[in-house]
Symmetry: C2
Subunit: 290 residues, 2 copies
């Protein structure tokens, strides 16, 4: 990869892809930016966007000559898109993605990236985003101050890819941590997919209890925070849950065990036990505040 002004190619230009284009351009991490996205409307949006130099009608064209290719499409479409672009990649191309699950994607990449003639792949997961998806909500500061998880090794093996990719995300203002794809998925099941599932469960329960107007009129700010993530795109999250099915099932089961524990303490009116349970959670939560 060239040291300066590399050619960045973005495949998928929703909230994450478009924000990446803005941020990389603003911070001088990309010279040329090419883009492809599935919908014609999205491609027209790219053509008007100041961060985008060229829009391609097909992903194969978009990646031609690119130094860094970032796949910003829903997780279930990433393996297919990797297979599709692979023959068209420049040998120096470093390919990554922003998917919320990593094991299946990295396993697919290992099957596809087997020679040194068509670039390298290394999975990324920037912990940034929002309930409001789409290019219209993109912003260049989406990544600054957030964490990015990298899931080495690169395929085919190449230490430079990890160092370059780490420098790229750090250049966007992110803190970078590396862990294996499997560790990543287990971790995300517990700290992201499970919280999302609980927020959705709570909202599905509330939807059965009253009209949204009634809920909104009679509730405090705590409920809004607790359930915020449940407003996320159901299609996107169905894909994430399915990709990380085993780990999420296991997290849900462990969490259900905790629910039963709390229920038991409450049913027994065990004041000391209840307080101890709540204190354990409060101690952890207070330690999470920046």
């Amino acid at each position: 990869m060239k040291d300066t002004a590399p050619h960045l190619c973005l495949l998928g230009t929703g909230l994450l892809g478009a924000s990446l284009g803005m941020a990389a351009r603003e911070r001088g991490l990309a010279g040329r930016v090419t883009a492809w996205t599935r919908s014609a409307e999205g491609r027209a949006g790219c053509a008007r966007a100041p961060w985008c130099d060229a829009v391609a009608a097909h992903p194969e064209e978009a990646v031609a000559g690119a130094d860094r290719v970032i796949l910003c499409v829903p997780v279930e479409h990433i393996p297919g898109l990797l297979a599709r672009i692979h023959p068209h990649l420049h040998p120096r191309a470093q390919v990554t993605d922003v998917g919320s699950t990593k094991e299946a994607i990295c396993a697919a990449a290992a099957r596809i990236f087997t020679d040194r003639d068509h670039g390298t792949f290394l999975g990324s997961h920037p912990l940034a985003g929002g309930e409001r998806t789409g290019m219209a909500h993109a912003r260049p500061d989406l990544f600054a101050g957030r964490t990015c998880l990298l899931t080495p090794p690169a395929c085919p093996a190449d230490p430079r890819t990890e160092a370059d990719l780490r420098a790229f995300w750090e250049g966007l203002g992110m803190r970078v941590h590396a862990l294996s794809p499997r560790e990543h998925d287990t971790w995300m099941a517990r700290t992201s997919h499970l919280p999302h599932a609980l927020a959705s469960i709570l909202c599905a329960f509330l939807a059965a209890e009253g009209a949204p107007q009634e809920v909104a009129a009679r509730t405090g700010p705590g409920l809004l925070d607790t359930t915020r993530v449940a407003a996320g795109d159901p299609v996107l999250w169905t894909g994430i849950f399915r990709e990380n099915r085993e780990a999420l099932l296991s997290a849900l089961d462990a969490c259900r065990g905790r629910l039963d524990e709390l229920r038991g303490l409450l049913a027994a009116d065990d004041a000391e036990g209840l307080c101890g349970f709540l204190r354990k959670g409060a101690d952890l939560r207070r330690a999470l505040d920046p």
Copy 2:
């Protein structure tokens, strides 16, 4: 009650009590403000506070001659405190509280406020607060724009008490809704105590999975929002959960049913079912945003 500059008495001057003193003074809803709070340190804080005219060593003294008395102590202490102050109340005194549960408190008040010689009681629950409790975090704008739930009837029956109390909370910038004590507790079990329980369950689960530093380094903003309420005072929330035990147990059971439903859809890898479940929650959550 006098039309202007009534004498307000606050019993308990933590986050809510002290914020009430500031807000009522700032908005001209109180002429004289007297206060009592359990700890000597808290009483010394009141003596220094510009919103407080006089601090009493005992609640019986604090309420002497007061037009409006507001109990801002943990829910489990409210019935005892009502019984203690009752003989000392002026006949025109309107008494209320800010407790998060209402059925037990209002039932206790109905047993205590039986004659017209010692004022009236009507329960309130301003949906305002925060994880950071104590007088040090008090602020005059804590109530503005929030909802306050009133739980009539007043005891002994007195239509003026409800009108006056409604005007008081509205004067602080709140939207006021009235519902029965039982409806209140069922509603709060579902929309506040259950979300708190789920956030605590999630945090207790995470505490078993890794050190807080590790969790903090590798998580996104979604987890922080989802779990924010779990940082609340464990002692305070143990009292709330116990006071509202039956309704919370029933909400936990219904929620567990939803958890099992989502788990079943995921185990069956039912994409359509999963997406429908998440969409139901997302629709409700999006409708809650102001």
